[in-house]
Symmetry: C2
C-alpha cells in the first residue's frame, strides 16, 4: 500500500462564466467539483496505475463530507482521513469562457487544534506500518506547526518507509532538513529553498540540505534529477499545451510508483514525465489521458549518467 | 402561520479577499455562509418580528443539507422544503477589502423534474390550509415552467390566502396576470413589466395588469404604493448608506406581517421602510438592526390619501 498525506484537503470547484468582470454579477454556466489537495491528486493517479493507496490528512464540515463521499467512489483508494471540527476548504477556479483565463479563490482551510494534530501523528504512525512508501503533499492548514513535515519525515524514516515530500516555503525548508528520500520542487520552489535559479547548482544544494534525491520540475521541459545513483534529465518528445493543473502531482505519482516497483531512476523519470504530459493533455483538469500516457512513455528522452558504483 | 416559497433556495457564501485581480490567485481571508434565496430571507425577518413561519421550496445535494441544517437553528422557522435530486445552488459574493466592491458568482440551481414540480404543487396546497398569507419569492430554477408563479397565485387565491409575489421578468409578468394581492417590484422590475419609468403611471399600469396592490421600491427614497384603499409614499428620515443586500426582502416581510396583523396601509409601509433601512444599516448582509428599526419606525414620513369609501 502507498500512503498519501494531505493535511489541507480541499473540494476543488470549477466555475465557467461567459466573461469575468469585477464588481458585476455573473451567471455561472457550468459547475464541476472534485476532491482536491495534492495528496488526493497523487492518490488518484496511483490508483489508476493499479496501486493500492490509502489517503490520510484532515477532513471536516459539510465540504469535508462531500470530499469523503467522492473518494468512496474512487476504486483503489482507501479513506483514512481524520475528522476535525473545522471545515475543509473549497478552492474556486473561475474560468473566463471568452479568454480561457482562470481566477483562483482559495479558502484558508480549517484551524487544526493541538489535540487534532496529536491524534493525526498517532494515526499516521499506525498507517506507516502497512505502507511501502509515503507522499507528504501540499500546504499546511492553520494551526499545524510549520515543522510538521519534518516530524512526519522523521517518523517515516524511523519506520523504514521511503518518503516523498512535495511542499513549498518554510514547510519545505524544515522538511528537507529531516532528510526525506525524494523532494519534487518546481523551479520557483527550488530557487526559494536554495537561493539559486541554476538547476544544477540548486539540486546539488538541496541535496546538501538533506534531500536524498531531488527531482526538479522544468515545466514543459520535463524533469531534472540529482540522486545518489546518478544525475538525469528527462524530456518529453515535444512541448505539450493544455491545462497544467495536477501535472506535478501526476509526476509525484510516477516517481512513487517507480520507487515501489523498484524501477531504475531513468524509468521512474520517464514515467513521471509521461504522466505529467498526459495530464496537461487531458480535457479534465487533474486527470491524465491514459492513451497519451502509454504513447508518450517510450518517447521520453532520458540523458545523464549513473554514479560509478 | 405565514408561508414563504423559495423555489430556488441558495447557500449565500461571502468571501473577503485583499484585492480582486482577474486571472490571478487569491487567498480568501474570511468565509461566511448563510441560507439564502429571497423567501428564506423574508422568513428570517418575519420570525424576528415574532411570526410563526414555514418555508417551502426545493432543496437538494450537499449544499441543500447545509441550508437545512442552518434553518433548523433558526427560531420560529419551520422547514417544509421538498428534497430534489439536483443540488441547491451556491451564490458567491467576493468582497474586495480594498474598495468594498462585490463581485457576484451565481450557480444556476438544480434542474427540477416535472415529477418534482408536481409533488411541490401538492405539498404547497396542503401547506396553504394552515397559512394566513403566502410570499412567492425569487427566481425559478431550471425545469420549473415560466408560468409557475401564476399557478401558485391561483392556488392561493382559491384557498383564500392573501399572496405577495416578488420576482422579475417573464415570471413576474405571468404571475401578475393571475391577480396576486401584492407585488413588490423595484424600479427596474416595474419598468420591465410596464414599459414605463414613471412610478405613478407604472404602478397604475401594473394594477391594470392584475396586481391588486403594487408597492414599488424607490431604493434609498423608500416605497410608493398603489392599492384599492389609496395611494401612499413612505420615505425614511434620511438616506441611509450600507449594504442593500436583503433590504427588499425585509420590506416584503414588513408588508406581509402588516397584512396578517391587519394594519392600515400607511403603517404597513412605515414598517416596510423602517425594516428595509435597518437592513441596509446592519453590518451583517441581510439582517436588520433591531434598535435602528425601532428608532426609525416612528420617523418614516407617509404621505398620500385613502380612496373615498
Amino acid at each position: 500500500m502507498i500512503l498519501t498525506v494531505t493535511l489541507n484537503t480541499a473540494l476543488d470547484v470549477t466555475y465557467r462564466v461567459p466573461a469575468l468582470r469585477p464588481h458585476t454579477s455573473h451567471r455561472v454556466t457550468d459547475v464541476r467539483e472534485r476532491p482536491g489537495g495534492k495528496g488526493l491528486n497523487v492518490a488518484r493517479v496511483l490508483a489508476a496505475l493499479g496501486h493500492e493507496v490509502t489517503v490520510t490528512g484532515f477532513v471536516g464540515g459539510a465540504t469535508g463530507r462531500v470530499v469523503q463521499e467522492r473518494l468512496t467512489g474512487t476504486a483503489g483508494v482507501s479513506d483514512a482521513l481524520l475528522p476535525v471540527t473545522g471545515a475543509t476548504r473549497r478552492t474556486i477556479a473561475v474560468v473566463d469562457a471568452r479568454t480561457g483565463d482562470t481566477t483562483q479563490l482559495n479558502e484558508p482551510g480549517p484551524v487544526i487544534t493541538p489535540a487534532e494534530w496529536s491524534a493525526f501523528q498517532e494515526a499516521y504512525e499506525g498507517l506507516l506500518a502497512g505502507a511501502d512508501a509515503v507522499a507528504l503533499c501540499g500546504s499546511l492548514p492553520p494551526g499545524v506547526p510549520v515543522g510538521a513535515y519534518a516530524v512526519l519525515v522523521r517518523t517515516a524514516r524511523a519506520a523504514g518507509v521511503p518518503v516523498l515530500l512535495d511542499t513549498s516555503g518554510e514547510a519545505l525548508r524544515r522538511g528537507v532538513a529531516a532528510r526525506p528520500d525524494i523532494i519534487k520542487p518546481n523551479a520557483d520552489e527550488l530557487a526559494e529553498l536554495t537561493g539559486s535559479h541554476e538547476p544544477l547548482r540548486a539540486t546539488q544544494d538541496a541535496r546538501r540540505r538533506g534531500a536524498r534525491s531531488v527531482v526538479a520540475s522544468l515545466g514543459a521541459d520535463g524533469l531534472t534529477a540529482a540522486t545518489p545513483e546518478g544525475r538525469w534529465r528527462a524530456t518529453p518528445p515535444a512541448r505539450v499545451s493544455g491545462n497544467p493543473t495536477g501535472a506535478g502531482d501526476s509526476a509525484s505519482a510516477g516517481l512513487l510508483s517507480g520507487l515501489v516497483e523498484r524501477l531504475p531512476w531513468p524509468d521512474r523519470l520517464a514515467r513521471a514525465v509521461a504522466l505529467s504530459a498526459a495530464t496537461v493533455l487531458s480535457p479534465t483538469a487533474g486527470e491524465f489521458e491514459r492513451q497519451a500516457y502509454e504513447q508518450l512513455l517510450n518517447r521520453i528522452t532520458v540523458t545523464g549518467e549513473a554514479t560509478a558504483a
